[in-house]
Amino acid sequence: MKIDKNKLKELANDLLFDMSEQEYDTLLMEFGELVTQMKLLEQIPNVDEGEPLIYPFETTNSFLREDEPGVPLSKEEVLSNVADSYAGQVRLPKVVN
């Protein structure tokens, strides 16, 4: 698992945020710790053979929600937390593909 600063910057970019150079240095160090941690997982015999456990216990429900309308928010409520809106819609600088 070779990791370098550029790879970290790529990941940060994918996550849509930036960090300072020192932060990337700290992270590089933490990645080193992660690798050490992962070795502990590696040491479990036959760890890759079983099935992943996604929920704490195997559980299924048989429940589906009835298709009956609830009460929606008012337009004012929807926009109450929005920093910038126009004509009842959330406004952003133009999204170009």
Binding site: L8, E51, L53, F57, V95
Partner: protein, 486 residues
């Protein structure tokens, strides 16, 4: 009289006998909160609380409703309608939820009175109480403000330990209620996964998350569970299992089988803690418990933290992808929409959170999933299977909740030291396996508390309380808080 230092039940009895009114109790709580210096509070709602208390004081006491008029605080990652909720992160500055979390709705129905929100490690991702946007939250047991109260439910632990309110809500993903409970000498409870609705709880790692709470007595914890437990259709992972009459537990350990996991307990070196632990074991035996050391493969024990860490970092990146400034919360300007989102997330998240996210995103990348994320999920199954095997033969696992007293802020967590890793993080077992788990104070070391933890079978909370109540009686630390006379 110091009302807020009492338990829920004790306050209720005083209400019944007319010796005090909700207004008096709430006024006292607010006064204490205003004087508190532990940096435990986010948005407070004192005016509303006083109004509610006044209204209740003018109405008859609800006899069978023990939560009537009881003041409490709420960890700031739980949605409160009309009250700013930030998860102690700058990215949620100004976010005012349009709905209450299910647990808040239920507490409102019971006429409990919220005084406001408490600090946490940012977005609940931390265990020190140091990473919230308002800075460190202090452990009330150390007046010099040099010690942690732990996290992520730092503020909630602090306000209950400081005697400001008899209970406070928190959340527990790896140990975020049960560890600070140890450092703050409190009862810290996490229910079975799915027992309490997570609707309105800001998600950190849904397959590990649970709403929990701090009280100062086991009975109060059972009482809260009766109110908060139960199926909620708004949470598809909430259990359809019926709710038990938890407060009717019969304290006792006769014939109860208690397992001690050697690979964890032998990592403890604190002498005071070990003495108290051994003493409690003797007392439990005297009361009829059958206590045995069991072995779980050390390799699995050593992997508990890594498993938890990879899973939680990975899932947290996805769960916080909605924080972009577009629909709510902080928004920074930008030339393009991508700039807006990028500037917002850059400014809004702390460096620690960002580093966690990057590690998480790395583990989720398709090319890394097998070796990281999926491997952690597979390790999870192996660990959980082992733990459940133990609990198929024993009623409860009984272990020190932490290796020692609350660390100082500048003490670095030595996560490369396996001993420390194990002793400090084994509580995550209950999250990995979705089991109910409770921490309660065991002893004091230099006047600083250390707790012990009990973890039981899924949905067996009533029995858990019954056993914990005996421990509570053995330690004599029921009601422990800062300034308690021992």
């Amino acid at each position: 009289m110091d009302y807020t230092a009492l338990s829920i039940k004790e306050i209720h009895d005083l209400y019944l006998s007319g010796k005090v009114t909700p207004l008096q109790v709430v006024e006292q709580a607010i006064a204490k909160a205003q004087k508190d210096t532990n940096n435990a509070l986010e948005k407070t709602t004192f005016a509303e609380a006083l109004k509610q208390a006044k209204d209740l004081s003018n109405s008859p006491v609800e006899k069978d409703n023990l939560l009537w008029g009881i003041p409490y605080f709420i960890k700031d990652n739980i949605s409160t309608k009309g009250v700013e909720t930030t998860a102690s992160s700058n990215i949620l500055k100004g976010y005012i939820p349009l709905f209450n979390a299910e647990v808040i709705t239920r507490l409102n129905n019971k006429k409990a009175i919220s005084l406001g929100k408490t600090t946490l490690d940012e977005l609940a991702m931390g265990g020190s109480g140091m990473s919230g946007h308002l800075g460190y939250t202090f452990n009330p047991y150390d007046e010099t403000h040099k010690r942690r109260v732990g996290g992520s439910s730092a503020g909630s632990a602090a306000v209950v330990a400081a005697g400001i309110v008899p209970f406070a809500l928190g959340s527990d993903t790896g140990d975020s209620v049960r560890k600070p409970a140890s450092y703050a000498g409190l009862v810290g409870f996490k229910p079975t996964w799915g027992r309490i609705s997570r609707f309105g709880l800001f998600p950190f790692t849904p397959s590990l998350d649970a709403i929990g709470y701090f009280t100062r007595s086991v009975f109060d914890a059972a009482l809260l569970l009766e109110v908060l437990a139960g199926r909620d259709e708004k949470d598809f992972t909430s259990s359809l299992k019926e709710v038990n009459d938890y407060t009717k537990y019969r304290a006792g350990v006769g014939g109860v089988k208690i397992a001690l996991i050697k690979g964890i307990s032998d990592k403890i070196t604190n002498k005071t803690l070990l003495e108290a632990y051994e003493k409690s074991l003797k007392e439990l035996k005297n009361r009829g418990a059958i206590i045995e050391y069991v072995n779980i493969d050390q390799v699995l024990i050593n992997a508990i933290f890594s498993t938890y860490f990879v899973l939680s970092c990975a899932e947290s990146t996805s769960n916080n992808a909605n924080l972009d400034g577009v629909k709510f919360g902080l928004r920074q300007a930008g030339e393009t929409y991508l700039d807006v989102i990028k500037n917002t997330r850059t400014k809004g998240f702390s460096p620690l959170i960002k580093r966690r996210f990057i590690i998480g995103a790395y583990s989720l990348k398709q090319e890394n999933q097998e070796l990281l994320f999926k491997r952690a999920q597979k390790a999870r199954r192996l660990i959980v299977d082992e733990v459940n095997k133990v609990l198929s033969k024993y009623d409860v696992i009984y272990l020190p909740a932490a290796p020692g007293i609350a660390p100082e802020f500048n003490q670095k967590a030595d996560n490369l030291n396996i001993e420390h890793l194990v002793a400090d993080n084994h509580l995550a077992i209950a999250n990995l396996a979705g089991l109910p788990s409770i921490t309660l104070p065991l002893c004091l070391d230099n006047d600083l508390p250390i707790g012990v933890n009990l973890t039981g079978r899924a949905f067996a909370e009533k029995q858990l309380f019954a056993i914990a109540a005996v421990v509570e009686e053995i330690t004599g630390l029921k009601g422990l808080q800062v300034g308690s006379k021992k």
